[in-house]
């Protein structure tokens, strides 16, 4: 690297560093967190809980009053979409209205708060918020060609479970950074909890794949950088990545802190292997997603199979010894004489490594010989172009080795010559296991022939050392029989020697097929039986401590190849040193556990503030700190710091219970305000930063999609308080493949839609969704077939309801889709449009209703939370 790497960031633009240095320590977010007492002496006939007092105070200070409470139906829709990402069903609306009548709106509201917090869909909705921060993209983390499943799914499901079971946030953080370390010290059977501990640190491994980077050293530092950047932003609201090249210009993050963290992540293993050959791929480390018991059973079975293989080898060795002493050594001379008297069979021998074309094959050195092998399981082949002196029948022999039998297809000049031919297992991959295998005789032409071996899809080829093409005359069998009889020899051995004269004395592998002691056949049956017994276990990403820990030196200017001599010891950040207890990292551990403990230390001024702010952002669209991923000096100032501190302090006091914090927020009068209060001309806060009304906002892409889906009946609601059944939710946007790697067949329109409405499929952390409004979105509602499809599904449903007149149907449609009935004027306008569709456009009944439904889908009321 001659230039500084391009990871240097634009940190210096806006302000002079010197000025900022002075500010570092005094910055509000680094001050100790203390629970402020709620403001008193306010003129207040509005507040419900202390949250409101803080809001009311900031409003009164600028002469504003809060808005009145929103309509009950609006609140039901707001709360249901906010907490579960799904619109309330018609039944839910009806029973809520009944409850409002019988118990009063307040009681009815508190009941739905409890119902929704216990809903299994809560974890999906708020899990998706967290998955944005942890840069999870469905389908991104597929190990191409090795596994067709999404390796990060277990992490995603862990997040949903953790939220549904209200896992304390400090524990949630610790598990995502160091779950594997916690699991290592835990004992006993592997319950779901144990599995969760292993799945949680997937957080560190689901980042970008970087598969094509040619330089492994840069790649290593890039991966570490990605982990540091994601982790520090997610939990601390600071991006340490600036400090890769220089001390952070604004925030108190010196470069040494960065490399102290780099040592921690560098001593953590997420890659199976960081090979210097990019062609080998950079696969993530994986582990079985199974209980210890299942793994043990699987390993025992594997062990049994290897032991059977050892027995088999032993049986063959013994048989060889016997054959050698009984047959070959005594008759060596006879064999050579016999061979000499047989007509010669000219042969062309080629080294396998001189292949002329391959897909996914490489050369390796085995015991001094070069052989070829397949790199990974996928559709693959290797081919040669032997040049033969004359046309005719040739026997094709392959010298190869494999621990188990792989089926191959032989293609000659593009035509299949052998299909699903099982190459016999030869005991292993090593030099001693190589043996000659005949692929039978085939007609070849003079000159160049194209000979290819294809592996089965998602399987391997054996390691291949050499090929022989032996000209085979038609009456060979007769001659061999005669010679064997004449010299008293075994004809199959003689025949083999005729094909490959230099193989003397034959090794075990070469002899195997003449020996065939009975034991071997029995063992083979047993092995087959064992193999059939256990399908491979499903796998998930694995994160572990590396075998040796390693401290990282400072890389000057972020340059991979310009490093300081002395490594920086692994350590937690020096930030807020006086507030948080320092934690010493043991020699033999990466230090992730200590880092996690430091992050969730109650003295850490950032962690509770950052998460409380994220919750607020989820409920109100914008955080109290608008830059929820940046609490540093360049981030936005809090609009109401006492409120944020109160929430953060309460969170710790409530044992980091997120659901309790949700409850505190959504039961407040602030949350229940109407969104439709018009601003006065002199309003000092036109952007509603102080929340004088509920902020109306565009719903996220997933919510729009899931709403259409659930309105047409595709997401069955699951019972509150029961664990989530993923299979029932499987059609929700968060479960479908959306990354660039997913096959186009998986609903390209859905992918387009999600992207269009602000979902970022690129796999970088997203702290605030892009909620910009553009014309393409309007074009989507107007012309895309996806909303049209769901509109017609819902229209069919509406028409299937018996005994209703048009007015009742329209009312139901409005209530289902928008959560309220239309006024008389709108009712009339709907009829006008319906009739236009029926009469002027001459559309059928379903198509006309589908237009009306599409109109409702396209309306602002559908897309906006109010």
């Amino acid at each position: 690297m001659t230039l500084p790497t391009p990871i240097i960031f634009l940190c210096l633009l806006a302000a002079s560093a010197g000025m900022m240095m002075g500010e570092k320590k005094g910055h509000w977010a680094f001050q100790p967190l203390q629970e402020p007492s709620p403001p008193a002496n306010l003129q207040d006939d509005w507040s419900i809980n202390p949250v409101d007092l803080f809001v009311l105070k900031s409003l009164s200070d600028v002469g504003l009053r809060p808005s009145p409470q929103a309509e009950p139906a609006t609140l039901l829709r707001r709360l249901t979409l906010d907490l579960t990402g799904l619109p309330p069903t018609l039944e839910e609306l009806e029973s809520f209205e009944a409850a409002v009548t019988s118990e009063g709106s307040d009681e009815a509201y508190l009941e739905i708060v409890e119902r929704l917090l216990a809903s299994p869909h809560y974890g999906e909705r708020w899990g998706r918020h967290w998955l944005d921060v942890s840069r999870y993209v469905q389908g991104k983390t597929k190990v191409a060609a090795v596994d067709r499943i999404d390796m990060a799914e277990p992490y995603r499901d862990y997040v949903i479970r953790a939220l549904n079971t209200n896992k304390p946030f400090d524990q949630f953080v610790t598990e995502q950074i160091a779950g594997d370390i916690l699991a290592g010290t835990a004992s006993g059977e592997q319950s779901q909890d144990q599995l969760d501990l292993l799945a949680a640190p997937g957080f560190l491994s689901i980042g970008p794949w970087f598969a094509d980077c040619a330089d492994p050293n840069t790649l290593r530092m890039d991966i570490i950088d990605e982990q540091i950047s994601t982790t520090t932003q997610a939990f601390l609201g600071l991006n340490f990545a600036c400090a890769r090249c220089h001390d952070h210009f604004f925030d108190p993050v010196p470069t040494r802190d960065y490399y102290a963290l780099a040592g921690i992540f560098g001593s953590t293993r997420i890659l199976k292997k960081n090979s210097s050959n990019w062609r080998d791929g950079r696969y993530r480390l994986t582990q079985p997603e199974a209980s210890k018991k299942q793994i043990r059973a699987y390993e025992q079975n594997e062990e049994l199979i290897s032991s059977l293989r050892r027995d088999r080898w032993k049986a063959l060795t013994d048989a060889r010894e016997e054959l050698l002493s009984r047959e070959l050594l005594q008759k060596e001379e006879h064999y050579s004489n016999a061979l000499r008297h047989l007509p010669p069979m000219p042969a062309i021998e080629i080294e396998a490594e001189d292949y002329q074309g391959q897909n996914n094959v490489r050369r390796v050195e085995i015991d001094g010989a070069t052989v070829v092998e397949t790199q990974r399981e996928r559709l693959q082949w290797v081919g040669w172009r032997p040049e033969l002196p004359e046309a005719g029948t040739y026997t094709i022999l392959l010298r190869c080795a494999a621990p188990e039998s792989y089926r191959v297809e032989l293609k000659i000049d593009g035509k299949s010559a052998l299909l699903e031919f099982p190459l016999p297992a030869s005991g292993g991959w090593e030099g001693k296991h190589f043996r000659w295998v005949s692929l039978g005789h085939h007609l070849l032409r003079s000159g160049k022939n194209d000979v290819r071996l294809w592996a089965e899809d998602h399987s391997y080829l054996p390691r291949i050392d050499k090929l022989r093409f032996v000209r085979t005359p038609p009456h060979r069998g007769k001659w061999v029989n005669e010679a064997a009889r004449e010299w008293g020899l075994r004809k199959e051995i003689l025949s083999q020697l005729q094909f490959v004269p230099q193989a003397w004395p034959p090794g075990i592998s070469d002899l195997e097929r003449f020996l065939v002691p009975e034991a071997v056949a029995q063992i083979d049956t047993e092995i087959e039986k064992r193999r059939a017994l256990h399908a491979p276990l499903p796998r998930m990403l694995a994160v572990t401590d590396a075998r040796g820990t390693q401290n990282e030196p400072v890389h000057v200017g972020g340059d991979t190849y310009n490093i300081e001599k002395k490594p920086v010891p692994r350590a937690v950040p020096s930030l807020a040193k006086h507030l948080v207890k320092n934690r010493v990292i043991p020699e033999n551990s990466s230090g992730r556990l200590q880092l996690a403990q430091w992050i969730v230390d109650p003295g850490n001024p950032l962690t509770p503030r950052v998460i409380a702010n994220r919750l607020w952002q989820g409920h109100f669209g914008t955080g109290i700190v608008a830059t929820s991923g940046d609490f540093g000096i360049q981030g936005a100032d809090p609009t109401n710091q006492p409120l944020l501190d109160y929430l953060a302090a309460r969170l710790i006091a409530m044992d980091w219970s997120l659901k309790d914090l949700h409850r505190l927020i959504v039961t407040s009068a602030t949350y229940r305000q109407s969104s439709s209060t018009a601003p006065t001309k002199t309003n000092p806060d036109p952007d509603n930063k102080l929340l004088w009304r509920y902020p109306r906002r565009r719903l996220e892409a997933e919510v729009l999609y899931d709403s259409m889906l659930s309105l047409s009946g595709k997401v069955p609601r699951q019972v509150s308080g029961q664990p989530l059944d993923n299979s029932k939710s499987k059609d929700r946007a968060m479960y479908i493949l959306t990354s660039g790697r997913s096959p186009l067949g998986m609903g390209i329109e859905i992918r387009k839609m999600l992207h269009l409405f602000g979902y970022d499929p690129s796999g970088v952390p997203v702290h605030q969704r892009d909620s910009s409004v553009n014309t393409s979105q309007s074009l989507f509602w107007l012309n895309n077939k996806l909303p049209r499809y769901y509109a017609s599904k819902l229209a069919e449903h509406l028409l299937s309801l018996p005994d209703l007149n048009d007015e009742q149907r329209v009312t139901i449609a409005f209530r289902m889709i928008l959560g309220h009935s239309p006024g008389p004027l709108l009712m009339e306008q709907t009829f006008t449009y319906l009739d236009h569709c029926r009469i002027v456009q001459d559309l059928g009944e379903t198509a006309s209703w589908a237009r009306v439904v599409l109109g409702l889908f396209s309306s602002d009321n559908f897309s906006y939370l109010k």
Binding site: P6, T622, D637, S772, T775
Partner: protein
Amino acid sequence: MNSFPSASNFPSGNAAIRAGGDGSSLLSLSRRGFMGFSGLALCDLLTRQASKAATQTPPTSEDLEPHFPARAKRMIFIMLDGGLSQVDSYDYKPRLQAEHGKPLPASIKSPKFTFAERGHIIGSPFEWSQWGETGSWASDLFPKVNSRWLDKLCFIHSLHHENEDHITAMSMLNTGVPREVRPAMGNWLLYGLGSDNSNLPGYVDLTPKDGKAFPTGFLPSSFAGAPIMKPSRRGGDLNWDNLAAGFSDQREHLDFIQAINEEDDPLIAELRNRELAFRMQNVAPEVMDLNKESEATKKLYGVGENHTDEFGRTLLLARRFSEAGVRFVTATHSTSRYGNLWDQHAGLEKGHRGNANAVDQPIAALLHDLESRGMLEDTLVLCGSEFGRTPSREIFDGQMGRSDDGRDHNPHGFTMWMCGGGTKQGYHHGATDDYGYYAVRDRVSIHDLHATVLHLMGIDHERLTFHHSGRDYRLTDVFGKVVNEVIS
């Protein structure tokens, strides 16, 4: 249509109207008027955003001043996907012919990591000669471009970066970083300059590799490029996402939606967008309808000819979009499925020749067409690949067997050319070593290229910034120096 407000009241095609967190900001936006976006000149405001901008609001200031007068108002980027070999096109290295089959001298070091084994030197299989009045050396790969245009092109022979593979190199060339998701040149230009046509998006990405424009990274999606897939042979060429009317009589449908919205408090921005979308849907297909062109023009571009039909259509479309006011058009020459069309690891002569035949006439036609319409003066055309190719052969194990008649990737020294838009004519900037491997004289990094492009478009690359994730970002990161020598 008569009842609609006039076009100038609308924002440009894809310009952002952020909902922010609240309806009120939409109102305040609309109050200030949207004209700031049509033909929006670049503003200091963009730098002002570098301060504590909490939300990513697009510029709305009314008194926008450009950094300096723009030489180019629009840009067309012809992307030869896969890696055009500089030593077989425009970077003449007679030594390669002379030393064909010999190893590269030790003084030409191997890069730290390469894709394949490095073989010996191969001479260029193409005929080289001097062209035009400037007598510039070029191979016979692009005879039509060379015979008519070589004197008017502005070459940079000393481009370089360090990314050996297509993905990172492509990302580098477009976004300035190899492995992160950041906005591309077109997104930045749109962010900085807006669009000149309120009915069209400001950035059109023609036949992008995977059918996707570059993600906008941290820039709001309203600055995204609009991808348009391969123009089909069957008339119309209407493949634009969601532009084809889903059903007829949409006027009544829009009125119905409006009625629903009005019962609630109307969101003005949404209404405007919906109306704009409706109009865009009427305008864009017209722009994309190649039948509006004369037979002579179509013939000029090679439309209808076997080899040139596809790219001829693409570049004709590029010209139509530019003419209609689209700020930035990318035209990628690639295969949509496999990509890396110009990636001749093997079969260099056949592959490059075939590719060149497909693009030579269309490119010459585009330049001619722009010139005759008086557009070349203020249209910047940039042409090249994500990297060049090595002077040495590559031992290549491919589907067709083992071969050694191709060249490996070479990001260490490669050539691109510019034309029009305030660039010098017949000028050659920088040079590679005697073998065309490394850029040695007047080296130009990708950041320098970006800085230069922005400069020609009237933007100071150091002042076009976006605050995100605790930092101010630029297209040129912390690098970039305008290559003043190429500016006329």
